[in-house]
Symmetry: C2
Subunit: 373 residues, 2 copies
């Protein structure tokens, strides 16, 4: 195995605890109460920081269900753009200035973007410094603030992984804080929360779990644990996306499990060719991670042929239109930027293509692939 | 769902961290060193308690690999008989008397029996009292001593579950300390450690994972997470036991993963009919848990017909002889004792057969089943 891939993922930290199933969300208030009481006992801050997907801005009832009290911090997270190091730093500074230097807990309720915000802010409040300092592997020295993840859409696996992805505002590098301390202490998975997700978004996000796992299973870095998680994640995605009603309650619960297990899989393995190319689309063209993955997937017939067919079968079955032609007619500088943003991801590219990936993924080949998307 | 099955397993505590793969065992010494240093820093006891399967009594090199130093406690655990509450109490008392009231860590290295000893002793040192007090659900109030599990044989899932099974010396009840605090903080899974397991024992123990999961999948208490873990565990067991060489390195690693995931499955579900009948064989006739399961499995054609066939296919393929005729010719008192020891397990029996299980599993029916074994 290439040394590039030896980054400590032989040791895995699990999510501390989880609840799963319809109605699980109702247990959140009690959990938060416990954190408050335990902080009070220790003479620590009793305020809670709630980072909530902006979708819930119009659903304020959600805050009382979360046991949000006067004196807590509530920030609605915009998810149109993906997290940047500057954005994370600004949010952390705001919370600090509002007195939340050591809150009793941080709750991230929403999709991958919101949960990644919660993970990053938790780390920064405890470790100090700025987000960019910790982009990489195992650079944090202190456990973060106790953090609770409540996914409201399924697929990214952010609820289970040891990373929180962000784009470096200076360098453009899309890389997370990979650390045991980034893992949630508690995750609440309630399929009732993903009922209102629009069909397209449900599909694109869900496919992130599928794509993670097909990449891992085709990679050079393999182990029996990662393989097991991947196989079952792919199996669940097939059940959901090859069914007639991908969004019924059973399928929403299955996809929640797939997302979690897909996250566990990623914690013991690497992605492959799709994620680097997708990162290019996100960083250069501002396309959201999950739809970008699907756009790339639609050009992968040479690299993941069987899964390429299955992907189109799934999108056909669900009547989902994957955008096409986005990179047909860009200028040279943009193509160069796409290439640069993709090729910098040496670990997944090594996992997919070996140490000599640069001789395979030449600039011409990469631009050709983008033109197919 | 029956109220009997509502015992808090909607919230799951995961194993804190794990290492997986050939060579993972070499990381143990470092982990133990860290626990020592951290205890020293806090002014706590720096001694470590090692509970090691008696098999390693003749392999003393193992102790230096475990970073065992003068001043640590080493107890070799006899595994011919299963843990009893009195045995656990005695061991705990001995450790206390030797000064290990709050060791820096407890290591359990061996099979299910040894790991269950480590879990129980960890709980008792921290919570005081006697083992029988905590047989049941969520009766412990304090986290146990930091505990590390190192399985050297695969199947029981003890490395991943929230229980440690023991037989009550007074009442004969076989029941564990079911608690979040019973879960290992760190598990090291190295398939090199299961190389020397005798073929029979490897098969019987491995089948525990398979049997757990087929029972759960046929039960009334189901959820998408438990199902996912079960499906992949069964899949891995098939790969191992329907192959030509169940004990090659890849299959040993697969079975280690199956055992762990099977344990995770049990943490979110219940067993069924096989385990109660098997408990009867253990409690009354002293038959070891895993072989007892297989003996019961061989009489399950009416209850798990597909899996019954597959079980015999697996044992045939591996050339394993499952004992037969053990309960042909017992006296009435023994049959009554078997019935009593089996029927007291109301949760798994409710899961398998519904709330009226007693009208199905009559004494005549149960004795008939035992006579088939």
């Amino acid at each position: 195995m290439s040394d590039v891939l030896k980054t400590g993922i032989n040791q895995v930290r699990n999510v501390g605890r989880f609840n799963i199933g319809s109605g699980a969300f109702s247990e959140t208030a009690n959990l938060i109460e416990k954190k408050r009481l335990s902080a009070e006992k220790k003479g620590d801050q009793i305020g809670i920081v709630f980072l909530v997907d902006h979708f819930f801005r119009e659903h304020k009832g959600i805050l009382s269900k979360l046991n949000c009290l006067q004196g807590d911090a509530v920030e609605f997270i915009e998810t149109d753009t993906e997290p940047t190091t500057d954005g994370i730093d600004m949010l952390t500074l705001k919370l600090r200035n509002d007195g939340f230097t050591n809150p009793a807990a941080i709750v991230g309720m929403g999709g991958g973007v919101t949960m990644d915000h919660a993970k990053a802010v938790s780390n920064l409040l405890a470790n100090g410094g700025s987000a960019a300092q910790y982009q990489g592997w195992d650079l944090l020295t202190l456990p973060g603030i106790f953090k609770i993840g409540i996914p409201t859409i399924s697929g990214t696996g952010a609820e289970a992984t040891r990373t929180c992805v962000m784009t470096n505002s200076d360098t453009g590098l899309k890389l997370g804080m990979n650390s045991d301390f980034t893992v949630f202490d508690h995750v609440i998975m309630d399929p009732d929360l993903s009922k209102t997700v629009p069909r397209d978004q449900y599909f694109f996000t869900g496919m992130d779990a599928y794509i993670h796992c097909i990449e891992s299973m085709a990679g050079q870095y393999r182990n029996a644990m990662g393989d097991a998680y991947c196989r079952e994640t792919i199996n669940l995605c097939r059940q959901v996306f090859l069914s007639d009603d991908m969004q019924n309650i059973s399928n929403r619960e299955r996809l929640m499990v797939a997302s979690y297990l897909g996250g566990c899989a990623i914690a013991t393995s690497y992605v492959g060719l799709i994620h680097p190319l997708s990162a290019g689309l996100s960083v250069v063209l501002g396309i959201h991670h999950c739809i970008a993955n699907c756009i790339v997937m639609g050009a992968m017939e040479d690299y993941y042929p069987k899964e390429y067919d299955e992907f189109w079968e799934m999108s056909d079955r669900q009547g989902i239109v994957v955008p096409k032609g986005l990179c047909n007619d860009l200028d040279e500088a943009t193509y160069n930027a796409l290439f640069k943003a993709a090729i910098m991801h040496n670990k997944p590219l090594t996992n997919a293509l070996g140490e000599n990936y640069q001789s395979i993924m030449t600039i011409d080949r990469v631009i050709d692939l983008y033109k197919k998307m």
